[in-house]
């Protein structure tokens, strides 16, 4: 199997707080990787570093064949121009914990905004938008505004929005944490439906059941380092490390 994402020596500090302490991680194409870890472990920062929403102090990320956010010049890594970074990001889907839908745009406009901004003709973008909304089961809501929808529906719109450029890689940052418990299922259902389609998904979550059911690979992060990684059976059901066991005993 070929490789979708490679992370080398990802290192990041906020002021004196070392959030990532040299993480190496390889994600295979077409798999679902679940990142687990207590809050403050650096899992969101790691995810955001993959599409350069977070700049690394040291280390680099390769998606497909491409270095993300930087290039090699005179033997050093230099940050790319903003325009280049934006182009790279448009190829990577990102779904936020708080949905971050644009509240002043309709559901359809939310989905078509990025394609139109990057040159897709409006009519074509609308056509695409309707297809994507149908895919997440929101055909009849295209004229509504985000605040008129439930949290679960909003997150499904956000997923449709992330699919606009048909990305090979989609990143989910705690996609169900802001939802009422009874709405979690519908969102996880949509994510699950994406898993089988050959895309690579990386999901930061606290949903252990989902990790066990859908995850191909589970990474347990604590204090800025990968403590343990492996199949769900290895990490969730038979954790080797004390820290993993402590964490699982709290969330299960």
């Amino acid at each position: 199997m070929s490789i979708a994402v490679e992370i080398h020596n990802a290192t990041k500090s906020f002021a004196d707080n070392r959030v990532l302490r040299g993480i190496d991680l390889t994600v295979r194409k077409g798999t679902v990787t679940v990142i687990l870890g207590p809050s403050g472990s650096g899992k969101s920062t790691l995810l955001r570093a993959i599409n350069h929403l977070e700049k690394l102090d040291e280390g680099y990320v390769v998606v497909g064949e491409e270095l993300i956010g930087v290039r090699v010049q005179n033997g050093r890594l230099k940050e790319l121009r903003e325009k280049e970074i934006l182009r790279q990001r448009s190829r990577i889907g990102f779904v936020f914990q708080n949905f971050n839908l644009f509240p002043h745009l309709t559901i359809l406009e939310n989905v078509t905004e990025a394609p139109i901004a990057l040159g897709t003709p409006a009519a074509e973008a609308r056509e695409l938008g309707r297809t994507l909304l149908a895919r997440v089961g929101l055909t009849d809501k295209e004229g509504a505004y985000p605040r008129q929808l439930s949290g679960g529906q909003q997150q499904r719109v956000a997923i449709a929005r992330a699919l606009a450029f048909d990305p090979e890689l989609i990143l989910f940052d705690e996609p169900t944490s802001a939802l009422d418990p009874e709405l979690v299922g519908e969102v996880l259902g949509v994510i699950k439906s994406l898993a089988g389609s050959g895309r690579t998904l990386i999901v930061v979550t606290h949903e252990i059941g989902f990790a066990r059911e859908v995850g191909d690979w589970v990474v347990f992060l604590d204090d800025g380092v990968i403590v343990e990684q492996g199949t769900p059976d290895e990490v969730i059901d038979h954790p080797k490390h004390q820290r993993t066991q402590d964490f699982l005993s709290k969330v299960l």
Binding site: N100, H104, A117, P146, A164
Partner: protein
């Protein structure tokens, strides 16, 4: 000890023979709200004062209402209103755009732009508009010509004495107004959730479009009410344009008052009525603009 512990339980279980019967009959009646006699007295006092004042407006001959219709649509007054509206409208547009530019400067990560923008706001918020206008009128004394050019290279210059008074006036109003509007815009931009910037970035939307399409429209929701306040202030501040020899509504009223000293009060009444009308018109526009930018805000 045991008896004191027992007593409440016994009471709760046994029906209260006296209290319960009338209480039960009240279960379906409406609860009478607390009376607030203080509010009633205050309302009454204010009403009496209002009626008294309203009465003086018509019974006091010093208001000279009979002369108001003579002046209200007088051509000089209308000319003054024309200038007021023209200066206010141009300055409002210029200061909004300028305010966005300065606000972006202040929010920029570039330290130089940040400092320059902060310095601009500091300077023009500190100096009264009247001083700015007097300095502008004095410009030909200070700089006979202004222009830009490459240092020691070719220069493009215009003589300051040839600058149109309306241009001077609008420049003066805008210089001062930009300082205030930039703060209004800045607070509006800050009120937009950080997640909106991130979502726009994550989608790869180009920078300018991120601002124009995602951030600014949301910021406008909180910008519009404060900015309309600014525009109303601007409408009234245009009376200071006499310092660049322009007569707005109030300027015309003052000028007419000196020729017709017995009509000073009716002329002031005319100015008041017009300012009320203009401000009301702006408030109506505000209502619709706010409604437009509030779309999506309601559930």
């Amino acid at each position: 000890m045991t008896s004191t512990l027992h007593t409440p339980v016994a009471e709760a279980v046994e029906p209260r023979p006296v209290a319960v019967a009338p209480l039960a009959s009240l279960a379906t009646s409406r609860v009478v709200p607390l009376r607030r006699p203080g509010q009633w007295i205050a309302t009454l006092v204010v009403l009496v004062l209002l009626v008294n004042f309203g009465q003086t407006l018509f019974s006091n001959p010093h208001w000279e209402w009979a002369k108001v219709p003579e002046w209200i649509f007088h051509k000089s007054i209308l000319k003054g209103i024309g200038l007021t509206l023209q200066a206010t409208a141009i300055a409002a547009v210029v200061s909004f755009i300028g305010g966005v530019v300065v606000a972006l400067g202040r929010l920029s990560r570039n330290r130089f732009l940040k400092t320059i923008s902060w310095g601009y706001v500091w300077l023009f918020r500190s100096v009264p508009l009247i001083l700015i206008l007097i300095f502008l009128f004095n410009l030909p004394n200070l700089y006979p010509s202004i222009g830009i050019g490459i240092p020691f290279g070719p220069q493009l210059a215009i003589p300051t004495i040839s600058v149109d008074p309306l241009a001077l006036g609008v420049i003066g109003l805008s210089l001062s107004e930009i300082a205030y509007s930039s703060e209004v815009v800045r607070s509006g931009i800050l009120s937009v959730d950080q997640g909106q910037h991130e979502a726009a970035k994550a989608l790869g939307i180009p920078r300018v479009r991120q601002f124009m399409r995602i951030v600014l429209p949301q910021a406008l929701r909180s910008i519009v009410p404060s900015y309309v306040n600014q525009v109303i202030g601007l409408l009234k501040a245009s009376s200071l344009l006499i310092y660049v020899s322009l007569l707005d509504l109030f300027g015309q009223v003052q000028r007419l008052s000196s020729t017709y000293p017995t009509d000073i009060i009716p002329l002031l009444v005319v100015a008041t009525l017009w300012y009320l009308a203009l401000t009301s018109a702006i408030s109506i526009v505000q209502y619709y603009v706010e409604r437009y930018y509030a779309r999506g805000a309601r559930r």
